[in-house]
């Protein structure tokens, strides 16, 4: 099968922040081992990943050092994290494959996406990013940099940026070229670096975040993938679907998604984006969408625990 794997960004950092980069490497290695099993089983993988914690660290560093080193705009932060996270993923997966005698290459491609409309109705249209500021500093940042800031109770003021829907992956050709030759491609980290085409027809970076769930579906279409897999912490999936996940892969009909979104207020923003993207895209193409925790990834499709969204168009496996 051709599979798009979309990893939550917080799976790629250590829960214990004191572990720093070693902790990140360990977390990434654990997931790489699972993805290796899928390659061994003969599946073709393209891997995309979130980057919220990683960009968060960059913004904190940038802010702490602002008086000495120039700060970084958001598109550059995204590019930085694509490089660093991609490196760690490709190294870890390549090491696993080498060890198992598999010859697939693993490559990271820096990826830009042309963004368009705000996230679709029902999905959060903005996202808070970076450090919290006191009121005075927040006002100065608003005045000097045009930032929008919002008060987060108990924490302080935080910058908010729009969350935009990706329309087109600029590097789709090179991704497809490598993917079709059996290489594992890591790309469009953070949903892709958001860019727009300006009046002159030039590509320019945008200060925004991308609805990365949509990017996963775009990749699926570009590569004619057979399946999209969203990988999140167990707890996050359980809280979202409100189901016991101990019974293998449960089917969830996509027509029930609206109902779920309405009735469950425990659904986190990141999951809300995924569910709404799934609802909007699944109807069009009938491609299976899975929600699984990281330790189940290697057992897909037959032996894993998790949720499979199904539409009327595909055979429902009981």
């Amino acid at each position: 099968m051709k599979i798009v794997i979309a990893l939550d960004g917080d799976l790629l950092v250590s829960e214990d922040q004191s572990q720093g980069m070693l902790g990140q490497m360990e977390a990434i290695t654990g997931i790489a081992d699972q993805m290796g099993e899928l390659v061994r089983a003969g599946h073709k993988l393209v891997i995309t990943h979130g980057n919220a914690p990683q960009v968060g660290f960059m913004l904190l560093r940038g802010e702490a050092a602002r008086h000495i080193v120039h700060p970084l705009p958001l598109d550059i932060c995204g590019a930085d994290t694509q490089g660093a996270t991609g490196y760690m993923l490709q190294k870890a997966l390549r090491n696993w494959l080498d060890h198992e005698g598999l010859e697939n290459e693993v490559l990271t491609l820096i990826t830009q996406v042309v963004v368009g409309a705000p996230a679709p109705h029902g999905a959060p249209g903005t996202k808070g990013i970076g450090p919290f500021f006191e009121r005075g500093r927040a006002q100065a940042l608003n005045k000097n940099h045009g930032w929008e800031l919002e008060m987060v109770p108990g924490q302080g003021y935080q910058r908010v940026v729009p969350c935009l829907t990706p329309k087109r992956i600029l590097e789709a050709n090179s991704i497809r070229h490598l993917f079709e030759r059996g290489q594992v491609v890591v790309c469009s980290g953070g949903g892709g670096i958001p860019v727009r085409i300006n009046e002159l027809g030039n590509i320019v970076g945008v200060e925004a975040v991308v609805d990365k769930a949509y990017t996963a579906f775009l990749l699926g279409e570009e590569l004619q993938a057979d399946m999209i897999i969203f990988v999140s912490q167990w707890e996050r999936i359980i809280n979202t679907f409100d189901l016991d996940l101990n019974n293998g892969l449960l089917n969830f009909h996509f027509s029930d998604l609206d109902n779920l979104l309405d009735r469950n207020n425990k659904i986190e923003d990141t999951m809300r984006h995924k569910l709404i993207a799934s609802r909007n895209r699944l109807e069009e193409n009938g491609r299976p969408v899975l929600f699984v925790p990281p330790d189940q990834l290697g057992k897909i499709p037959d032996r894993c625990k998790g949720i499979q969204l199904v539409s009327g168009k595909i055979a429902v496996k009981s």
Binding site: I68, Y87, N95, L178
Partner: protein, 318 residues
């Protein structure tokens, strides 16, 4: 139709012009100019792979990391990950500007940035004599603490304080070379070996592990050029041509030399500055010995004229 492949190694001055122009906007402008010259190469019929330096950029990442660790206790970024960060960010700026240049020039080409690891030999003698200073100056007690706790090599730097020094081993293998080659063969413009590549070594079990080292970007570009079967290696630097007896009364600017002459001048040891022109000449010699036809050393603004044979220093295989 077989392609004419060129590798261009762009120097730090193509990205950061001087100390007053270091911000992201300044870097972006500098990259934009460089991309015009690369578009010239493509218009002249070359399929181009691009290597670039990252000295100042890694310096910025490290400085932010150090300050944020001191002020906020945020984990520090190890040197291999700094390299991956800058490959992402610089690759992004290059590929975006190239797309825009291609648009202006109606060039139908795709650009890909590949996050690239370069393997070095753990027995490289450079590991016994770390020479490259990185990061900020420290007082002696902090330097010694870092030495004891984190195994850093440290050195007193001409009365200005203490600095960390890391080895600069020779590149042995561009890990992602097969994929770079595939994309080049498909006619794409590929950005790779940024900063000389992310340095990795194979541990006893054969796994690649990132290390704290710096690889010369001209050496890495030369190795890549050999590997992908390039005819031409361009090293873009601060001077239009190479000089014998540089800076002395009998200084002599060179238009052309054969491989044999280049070897002879290099062996004389007095012509080319260590750590500056000497490694560039060495990189050209290795490239030509490995089957390359032509190496050119010139500055960014003269790339087009140098290709037309009007300037630059040409080093030819015979």
């Amino acid at each position: 139709m077989s392609q004419k492949i060129a590798v261009i190694a762009i120097g730090g001055n193509s990205l950061v012009k001087d100390k007053t122009r270091q911000s992201v906007q300044d870097q972006y402008k500098a990259v934009n100019e460089t991309c015009k010259h690369i578009a010239d190469m493509i218009l002249a019929g070359w399929t181009v792979a691009i290597g670039h330096g990252n000295g100042p950029q890694v310096g910025f990442v490290l400085r932010r990391s150090e300050i944020a660790f001191q002020v906020e206790g945020i984990h520090e970024v190890p040197l291999d990950v700094c390299g991956a960060d800058t490959q992402g960010a610089t690759g992004y700026m290059l590929q975006q500007n190239l797309y825009n240049e291609f648009l202006i020039n109606k060039i139908d080409k795709k650009v890909a940035t590949i996050v690239t690891q370069v393997e070095v030999d753990p027995n490289d003698p450079a590991f016994q004599h770390p020479t490259k200073p990185i990061g900020s100056f420290m007082d002696q007690s902090l330097a010694e603490e870092k030495k004891d706790k984190e195994g850093w090599s440290i050195r007193e730097d001409a009365g200005r304080g203490w600095r960390r020094v890391v080895p600069s081993p020779l590149p042995k293998r561009v890990v992602e070379e097969p994929a770079v080659k595939e994309l080049i063969n498909a006619g794409m413009c590929v950005i790779t070996v940024g900063g000389g590549g992310i340095p990795v070594v194979a541990d006893e079990s054969g796994k690649l592990v990132g290390i704290a080292a710096v690889i010369d970007k001209d050496y890495a570009s030369s190795l890549l050029a050999k590997g992908v079967g390039a005819e031409l290696l361009i090293i873009s630097t601060a001077v239009e041509k190479v000089a014998l007896n540089f800076g002395k009364p009998d200084e002599e600017w060179l238009d052309r030399m054969t491989l044999e002459e280049a070897r002879k001048f290099f062996a004389e040891g007095t012509h080319f500055a260590k750590g500056s022109m000497a490694p560039k000449i060495q990189a050209c010699i290795w490239f030509l010995e490995g089957g390359g036809k032509t190496a050119i050393i010139t500055n960014p603004e003269n790339i087009g004229r140098a290709l037309a044979g009007e300037t630059g220093t040409w080093i030819v295989s015979e």
